[in-house]
Each structure stands twice: as C-alpha cells, then as structure tokens.
Amino acid sequence: MAGEVSGMTDISGAMITAPVAAADWLVIAPVVVPLVFGALLLMFRHEMRWHGIVAMIGLAILVGVDAALLKRVLAEGPLAMTMGRWLPPFGISFTADALGAVFALTAGVVALICAVFSFRDIGVSGRRYGFYPFLMLMMAGVSGAFLTGDIFNLYVWFEVFVIASFGLLILGSEKAQIDGATKYAILNLVGTTLFLIATAYLYGTFGTLNMADIARKADGLRGTGPLMTLATLYLLAFGMKAAAFPVNFWLPASYHTPRIVIAALFGALLTKIGVYALLRTLVMLFPVERGILAETIGWVAAATMILGVLGALAQADTRRAFGFLVISSVGVMLAGLALGSETGLSGTIFYAVHSMLTMGALYMLAGMMREFGGSFSLHELGGLYRLSPLLTAIAFLLVLAAAGLPPASGLWPKILLVKAALEASAWWLAGAILLTGFLTTIAMGRIFLLAFWRDAPAVDGRHVTAAATGSRSLGQGVLIAFAVPILLIGIVPEPVIRIAAQAAHGLLESAPYIQAVFPAGGG
C-alpha cells in the first residue's frame, strides 16, 4: 500500500502497522462530522431552506459521537489516534481524555440548542451570508481544539474557530458589529500570535510538539530548559483567549454586538477553550511551573472574577452585563487552576460545564426579554412577569444558576472550589469566590427585579412595544432545553462531579495519557 519499494524496507520503525479498529475513529469523528457538514452547506449555499435542517442533523450526529466518545473514555481511559499512519510523535496525534471529551460533549450540546434557536433568530439574509456553514466550521475548530494531542495542531484549531467566529461576528454588517469585530479580531490575532511564539520556543526546547511527548520529557529538561518562560507565555496567551483580567478588553467590546444566538454561542464556548488550553498546558505539561505561578494565577483569578461582576453591575444593557458575567465566570474557573489540587481542578471543570450551559442560556434570555419587552436596556424593560410567567420562572432559575445558589448547577462547583481553597489555606481566594457569588446575586437580582417585577416604565410618554420577529414558543422551548440540564445537574450533581474528578485526575496523572499515545513506550 505504501508503494512498491516497501517490500525492501521495514516500515514498522516509522509507521503504524496494526489495523485501526472502527471504534477508534470516535476520536476524530467530532472533527470530521462538522467539517463534512460545513463543506456540504458551503457547496449548496443557495438551498437555504435546507441549511437549518442539515446543520441540525450534523450537530445531532456530533452530540451522538461526543457522547459515545465520553462513554468510552470514561470506561477505558484516554484514546489516541495518530494521523497518516506515522508513528507518534512524528504524526499528529488526536488524544481524547475525560477532560477533552466532557468539554467537547458540552460544547456540542450547546451548539445543538443554539442551532434550534437560530431557526427563529437567523433570517434569510443571515442564511445567505452563511450562518450555518460558519457554525459547523466553528464547531469543527472547537472539537478539534478539545481533542487534539499536538500543540501546534491546537494552534491550527484555534485559528479555525477564530476565523469562523469572525464570520459569525459580523453577520448583519451593522456599524456596532464592525466596530466590535475590529477590536475582537486584532486582539485575538495578537493572542494567537503569542501562542505561536510560545510554541516556537517550546519546539526549540523540546524538539517535539506532541503533548504526551512533552509531558514525559518535561522532567528531564526542567534543569536546563526555559520551561518557566514557556509556562508564563502560555498563561498570557491562553489568558487572553479566556478573557482573564488585564487582557480581557476584547470581550466586552464585541460580545454584545452580534445576533443573540451568536452571542450565546460565543459566551458559552470561546472563553472555555482558553480555560481548557490553560488546564492542558499548565497542569499536564508544566505542573511544576504552574506551582510557581500559582499565586499570580490566584490574584489574576480573583481580579477577573470581582472586576467582571463589578462591570456587570455598571451596565444598563443586559447583553453587556452578561458579557461581564462571562469574564467573572472565567475568573472562578482560574481559581481552580491556581489551586491545582484535584478538588480544585474538578471544581474548575465542573464550573466550565455549568458555565457553558448558563452563559448560553443567559444570552438567549436577553434575546427573549427583548422579544417581550422590546429592548435590551434596563431603563426600558419592565413588566415581563405579567407578559410571560414561564419566561420569568426560567429567568429566576438562571439568576440562581449564575449566582451559584441552589437548586441550580452553579452551587456544586463553587463548593468544590471553596473547599479546595480552604484546604490550601488560600482564604482570600475562597473569600473572593464567595464575594463574587454575592455580587453576582445583586447584579442578576437587579436585572430580574427591574425587567420582570417592575411595571413597564413609560419612555417618552409611551410604552415600549414588543418587536415580534419569530416564534416565541420556540424561543421559550429552547430556554427550557437549557434550564432542564441546569436544574438536573443542580439536583443530581454526583455524575458530573465523578466525571470532573476523573478528568482532573487524568490531568494530574498523565501516565495513562502518555500510554495511550505511546503504547509501546517507544518513539
């Protein structure tokens, strides 16, 4: 198969000779499925009636393979496949462990729910512009980033989803969108370039880009290589992607400008990829360096979460307030990274799952509030309780979820994080998490009070009338689809805690991950 000359040369030293079982394709399927569907949608860009349905089918398959992958990874440990039959570390490995699989599954679920919402939110012009192809390509990038086992390949997937997100961000070409997109694009480009700088130094130091290979070689290079520089550069680059405080300004500049469903997707997914990359590099590849940086990360985390929620308190526009809450939630996740213990990391992973669902739901709530109340501004919203008790009930659940109060899903990861902080006697970090929860309650509670309980305010002597653009029952149904898992996880948290603990354990004990990529121990 490898040409006529292969008879003379023993290729087993360079190539994988064992056949690959069909089940191993699960590792690559979450990338290939959205890629193929995105390509099909791009090809038939004029058949816009079918776009939504085809994208839904693609995302449903994506969720299916993500779920199957997670099930298999939880049962059998990390799963690897190296492209093109080359032996790792020469071929590009895709490696799925519990961390990547659980992030990919949650992202797939959020994207599927968003695709349902897009039926009412994305009109003919948005479809002609290519909303669904961009959505599928972005999901290919997101899944690729979660599942790749090669650090340069991670860079490539970052770029794939960032370029797709540009396309989504300027869908509609309004002034504010172009303004926000300019800042988003330039700052993200600087962020990914920093990532590339770090990767160049890493390659110069290690001579390999395979993450499993880096993890096993790091100990030997600790005395001579500039690993501290690498870890710090990755912290800066991925901190920028995750919108951690001092490098978070691109997020509030842009996240409120696109269509609601796109803002929901971005708020749910993009910052979490930064958090994932931080976990992967700092905890698995450079654990010792993470320990030295722990205090810095801790202060960054505290500043991010508190300044984020203070920003939310100062906003009159619901979408902008939620944008600041996204930043605040990233701060909470970074707290677990700073602690670095298994409890802290599982708190971070659990919080990321919770945050993907909650932030997506919050943006859609903002969209539905505008649907009923006619505005995004807290000055003009009001009386929504009378208009829709169902929306009010969902909004109340989301207030509890964002603030980390029972019975919603935000409570348990915060308990894990506070417990881990107290175990590490980092009382100030525990205090910051609790203070953030308190301030979030105020910020969300005020939005709830003003928009739902207050009577509709008269603006310029008239009541703002609702602008109906789509089916309201579909919008509320989508919000219920978000609310059910949030409530379920809040009431029965044990399965998620178990998965998060397994993912955190897999990060701290990288031996099974390395074993999956290098079964023979060679390479």
Partner: protein
C-alpha cells in the same frame, strides 16, 4: 488601470496562469509545489481578470460561486482522508493505486485528491475575498 493593452492581454495572461497553477499543483506531488501555492497562482489569475474586466466578468467566468468551490474542496479533502476508514488505517493515510491509462502508468493517491481539495479551498476563499475588495474599488 483598464488600458486597452491590459484588457486585451488579461484573458490570455489569466488562462496561462491558470494552466500554470494546475502544473504547480500536480508538480507538488514529488517536487516543490502543491495545492496552496498553486491555488494562490490561480487566485492571482482571477484577480488580474477582475482588475481588467470587472468583477461580474470573473464571476461569470468562474461559473460556480467561489465559496461553493471552497466548500467542494473542503469536502474532497475530508473524503480523501476518510477513505482510510475502509482500509483500516488511521485518518489521512495516503492510499495509492496505479491505473493503466492510454498505455501509461498513472499513479492515483488520496494525497493527490487531498491536495486538489486544498487547491480548491484556497482558490475559493481567497478569490471571494479578493473579489469583495475589488468590488469596493469599483464603487
């Protein structure tokens, strides 16, 4: 820019460049060249035609919408990787076969189809950006 000389020469120049881009694409099989660089040459061909005869002429000449071309390229690349599934080898493994065609031995491989896919992706996406910029120049 639209002088008589340029307008007369542009179609010939563009078709020559397109031919050359295919040559570079196929040469990339074993020697320097390949889909990306070939695609860029093809894009420059379309861009020159656009400067000389206007964007509508290029869109007519391409027949398919540039984004549809790049979608097809992406699909072709993905499918040439997926063929490995049948042969029980990892994704994107090169699979080779040779066919007797008109008395010649012609090698076909998934690598080549992958490269053609890359070529089409580059042609489609960069052409659509270039045409968007040229349309603004026209207005």
């Amino acid at each position: 820019m639209r002088t008589l000389i340029f307008r007369t020469a542009a179609p010939y120049l563009s078709s020559l460049m397109l031919l050359f881009s295919v040559f570079v694409l196929l040469r990339g099989h074993n020697e320097p060249g390949g889909g990306f660089i070939g695609g860029l040459i093809a894009v420059s061909a379309f861009a020159i035609l656009g400067i000389a005869h206007g964007v509508p002429a290029v869109r007519r000449a391409m027949y398919f919408h540039p984004m549809a071309v790049s979608g097809f390229g992406l699909l072709l690349s993905a499918l040439s990787g997926l063929l490995s599934f049948v042969y029980e080898v990892p994704f994107l493994t090169g699979i080779w076969t040779s066919v007797h065609l008109l008395g010649m031995e012609v090698d076909f491989s998934t690598v080549m189809f992958f490269d053609i896919g890359v070529y089409l992706v580059v042609v489609g996406s960069i052409t659509s950006i270039a045409l968007a910029l040229e349309e603004r120049e026209d207005n």
